[in-house]
Symmetry: C2
Subunit: 393 residues, 2 copies
């Protein structure tokens, strides 16, 4: 084909998560929304805090050319200052606005970060099961995606397996904790062990291995500590989004942080800016940069997700399903009732249940249920889950 084959393939294949969600929307139109139990997407069911609406309305009264003009590529200094101040308060750090590059969400932050650090031929390690777009962005940046399975019981990073997967071409490891799709939160001990492996191997290889910490779910936890990663490993770049914490996924607002712990901090800051420029990201949406100034410290409404989690995990366990107790994020990882998760998904779909099979996340035998849905969806789905379980007896 004359055009770009890889772009065509990515467009034709689509994200399997989005495909299931599209099926769900069509099915709802067909048989009624209350009869379809769609657990596919990570679209927050909790609305944005009222402070966001208030900030939008207040900002809309500003002179329009001031409000909607280009911002610096890295973002409004006041917005970056607000984010830095918030991080410094919470994690006893000393970040400055210049360490932050505001982005169109975490997807842009990760894509930009990879383009900043990766050269063709490099390898980037992901911890399976993993968010499937990581592979797309890694390959687009010219690197190879290397999957390392998480510990099969705890779903913590298997740091010995990471160690074994490192080669002279390893440039970075991507982690996300609280984890999508499993809901694990990496412990301080896990991170210390990972840092020790990465430091040792960086020294041995004579080039740095970066840790890209993707943290959109940082605020959504059920008691677990989420350690601040750059305090544990100096060569960390943090990618963040307000999609989940402030329920703004459609507005595309987040950031990449190059912490001042990085020995090559100044080079990294420029490379991140250059990567944003290369890809056509001019600036993050200006109005929502201003919303950040007002709302950066708004608390996340975790209670609704906690209630959903209890109802879903408790309900499914009561029906005999095996699931991993989520410590964070809003996904439940449920063992498929047959080895082929795709076949299990199809049987679930016939009962109007829409989880995402684990093949999409690089492993076999599980499904992911997003419980960022209404409580009624969870309660209403239980008879279908029961039928599904019975169909395997």
């Amino acid at each position: 084909m004359a055009i770009n084959q890889k772009s065509y393939d990515y467009g034709a294949a689509k994200s399997s998560i989005r495909e299931i969600a599209a099926y769900g929307a069509a099915r709802k139109a067909q048989i009624g929304a209350q009869n379809v139990f769609d657990f596919s997407l990570g679209n927050p069911s909790v609305p944005a805090p009222d402070a966001v609406r208030a900030s939008i309305v207040r900002n809309a009264a500003l002179p329009a050319s001031q409000l909607h003009g280009y911002t610096p590529a890295a973002g409004l200094p006041a917005a970056r200052q607000a984010v830095a101040d918030s991080l410094n308060r919470r994690f006893q750090t000393s970040y400055e606005p210049g360490d932050l590059y505001l982005t169109c969400g975490a997807a842009a932050a990760i894509s930009i970060t990879l383009h900043a650090i990766v050269n063709p031929g490099d390898e980037v390690i992901v911890i399976a099961p993993y968010f499937p777009e990581y592979r797309v962005w890694i390959e687009t940046a010219g690197a190879t995606c290397v999957e390392v399975m998480a510990d099969a019981t705890t779903f913590q990073v298997d740091t010995a397996a990471v160690d074994a997967a490192i080669t002279p071409n390893t440039k970075a490891v991507i982690i996300d904790s609280p984890n999508n799709p499993v809901g694990a939160v990496y412990t301080r001990q896990t991170l210390l062990s990972l840092a020790s492996v990465l430091s040792g191997r960086s020294d041995e290889l004579g080039h740095p291995i970066y840790l890209v910490s993707d943290e959109p779910y940082r605020e959504i936890t059920y008691g677990a500590e989420v350690p601040w990663v750059p305090a544990i490993y100096d060569r960390t770049i943090v990618c963040y989004s307000y999609s989940k914490s402030l329920s703004l996924p459609g507005e595309r607002i987040g950031w990449a942080l190059v912490p001042n712990t990085n020995p090559d901090h100044d080079e990294l800051v420029l490379a991140v800016a250059g990567a944003g420029r290369k890809l056509g990201f001019v600036c993050a949406p200006a109005l929502f940069q201003r919303v950040l100034i007002d709302c950066v410290d708004e608390p996340t409404n975790v209670e609704a997700y906690a209630r959903n989690r209890e109802a879903l995990a408790g309900g499914l366990r009561g029906l005999g399903y095996t699931c991993i107790e989520p410590e964070g994020a809003f996904y439940l990882w449920v063992k498929s009732l047959e080895p082929d998760a795709e076949a299990f998904f199809r049987r679930a779909r016939d009962l109007e249940l829409l989880p995402v099979p684990s093949n999409s996340f690089g492993c076999e035998g599980w499904v992911r249920l997003g419980y960022c849905v209404s409580y009624e969806t969870i309660v209403g789905s239980m008879p279908a889950w029961q039928k599904l379980a019975e169909s395997y007896r």
Copy 2:
């Protein structure tokens, strides 16, 4: 260096336009805003229409999870329908929502379009003088940027020169009319001649040469007709932004259109979607997608720019400067008073005048003055322009 050298270079070099603007901002803080005459940026001085504010406030009252949720990657169907309807009314076309892919502005649209059609080793032709980021995006997509000078008198596309520059590797030509930086509007005759060259050479080469039509200034004209390019050349992809027409440059909202005239339309649509996915563009900002539904047909306030144009072009001509009468956009192309435009720029800067030297746009001997500034800036700058001219006598 361990990180990506090209990203670092693009970050370290910065856009020269943005560098001059940053100098201007610093200088204003130093000596007072009224004493610095900054013509560097294309940040509209005309505020967004009142209808934009009304739409933002009205939409802000919607349920927040509906308002701020993920949209489909290509954009809300209703927003794409509104854009398609508007185009169909204005250009007697029959586009459908599926032909449109909403983007974070024209920069994203062009970057995505190039990643959709280009393969490594391809060549993409630009018409010099040209918007300098074209080169960045072309090279990032893996192609070579080939500069073809515009006609030296009219600044129309020199179609014979384009013909001469086409090789078996030519994949696309980028045009922008109304033109940044010169203000030329390509006539129907120019476009017919270009289409004839591209059709003939596509047939001869046995592969299509696409025309990427970058049109953020379509609505800003002073009487000239801006022909609808896909009606003249079938293999056109149109990239558009509301940055200038609705004065929303910071909000990053625009689109790529794959017109149904393209013989490989369906493949192109998928490749554009795949390219957006590859680069980390999840969706265009949701709130401003809704603003489009309300405001897609809001008229652009051209009067303010027309007044500025007359004052600036008339004023400079009165002082003996040579300039190209702009037929569209909001830039005046002024002949440098010495062959070295950079030297001329430095002498202007010493008088607190900040144009952009033409070297930034791929040619010698001119400067670009953005007249999307206050009328007072233009009038106030005249004594300095006079001093500058006198310094060359």
